[in-house]
């Protein structure tokens, strides 16, 4: 009888521990327009902390057409650590035309398939918004930051009260302007990085810590 009661409490304890452990696993999402470098940033974070890449990158827009999640990434910063799942999402767009892919020498059938998958990817990315604990909005710092897609993404995150960090990617390029991104979103912390050159990632990790703690 005593053994049964003890067993019950042990099982109960382990259930509660697992329950809270699962609850505590944070989800950090990468959102932004197509070709802003979300997957390149995801790859750099994954290589830095778990030694493997997350997904394929390409110069052709909409390379990521499915939401991808890398589980249990632990990053250390000083004496602290943060455990989270990293979610890479397809770029959010308001228009997708298969003919744009033909300019990149894709065959018509392939281009149509890519366009179809890309539309599904955008819908999936939008559905995942509610599952995020924190979002890194990745913008191409060589482009005009005032695009409606950027404003809509950030507006939706604000409405859902999800913490946001804006990443101005591609700072290694001549046309890059972090100032423009900062002036477009003055209410958010903006951090400039180059996923290609691996520039400024320590500062990025520091900011993620500040945002999550």
């Amino acid at each position: 009888m005593i053994t049964t009661i003890k067993g019950f409490f042990e099982n109960f304890n382990s259930f509660m521990l697992n329950f809270f452990k699962k609850k505590k696993q944070l989800r950090i999402g990468l959102y932004g327009p197509p070709n802003s470098g979300k997957t390149s940033i995801a790859n750099k974070i994954c290589v830095d902390w778990i030694g493997e890449e997350m997904g394929k990158v390409s110069a052709i827009a909409h390379e990521t057409r499915e939401v991808k999640e890398k589980q249990s990434i632990r990053i250390d910063h000083g004496r602290k650590h943060l455990l989270f799942n990293l979610v890479d999402t397809p770029g959010i767009a308001t228009r997708i035309d298969y003919e744009d892919f033909l300019k990149h020498n894709l065959k018509e059938q392939e281009a149509k398939k890519r366009a179809k998958e890309a539309t599904k990817g955008v819908i999936e990315a939008i559905k995942w918004l509610d599952n995020m604990d924190c979002v890194l909005v990745v913008l191409d710092s060589t482009e005009n930051p005032y695009s409606q897609v950027n404003i809509t993404i950030i507006g939706n995150l604000a409405a859902r009260e999800i913490p946001v960090l804006v990443i101005a990617n591609k700072i290694d390029l001549k046309k890059s302007s972090i100032k423009k991104v900062e002036s477009a979103f003055p209410q958010y912390k903006v951090i400039g990085v180059s996923a290609l050159k691996g520039k400024n990632f320590n500062e990025l990790y520091g900011e993620i810590f500040r945002l999550m703690k």
Partner: protein
């Protein structure tokens, strides 16, 4: 021929989010460029993008969307701010202007904080 249709905010303020999106989306599908007085809620904007993605096909390539919103004056009185907040909550946001059009007609909408430039594909 290029058709612009102006929608005053009074025309959508009593509609549900779903009805607003449907109304605007149907006009865009009719190849009209819609000038809406005011703006949609962030959630409505993202639902509009979602609906657009569901309908993209051989003839419909998507939409172009742009909202320009004037900054509220700093010297605005607290009572005025509260009044605006309540009005926005009840009826939606009638400040600013939103442009929505089909991607087959609108080539690009360039925007900076204070102006919108709309480039069409129509010659």
């Amino acid at each position: 021929m290029l058709t612009l249709q102006f929608i005053p905010h009074t025309e959508i303020e009593r509609l549900t989010s779903e009805q607003r999106i449907k109304k605007l989306f149907d006009l865009v599908r009719e190849k009209k460029i819609v000038l809406l007085q005011g703006r949609l809620k962030p959630d409505e904007e993202i639902q509009l993008i979602q609906k657009t993605m569901e309908k993209i096909g051989r003839k419909f390539k998507g939409i172009e969307l742009c909202t320009i919103y004037p900054n509220s004056p700093k010297e605005e009185l607290l009572i005025q701010k509260l009044k605006n907040l309540v009005t926005r909550f009840l009826l939606g946001d009638s400040g600013g202007i939103t442009i929505i059009g089909p991607a087959t007609i609108i080539k690009e909408i360039k925007r900076d904080p204070d102006k919108i430039q709309l480039f069409t594909k129509v010659k």
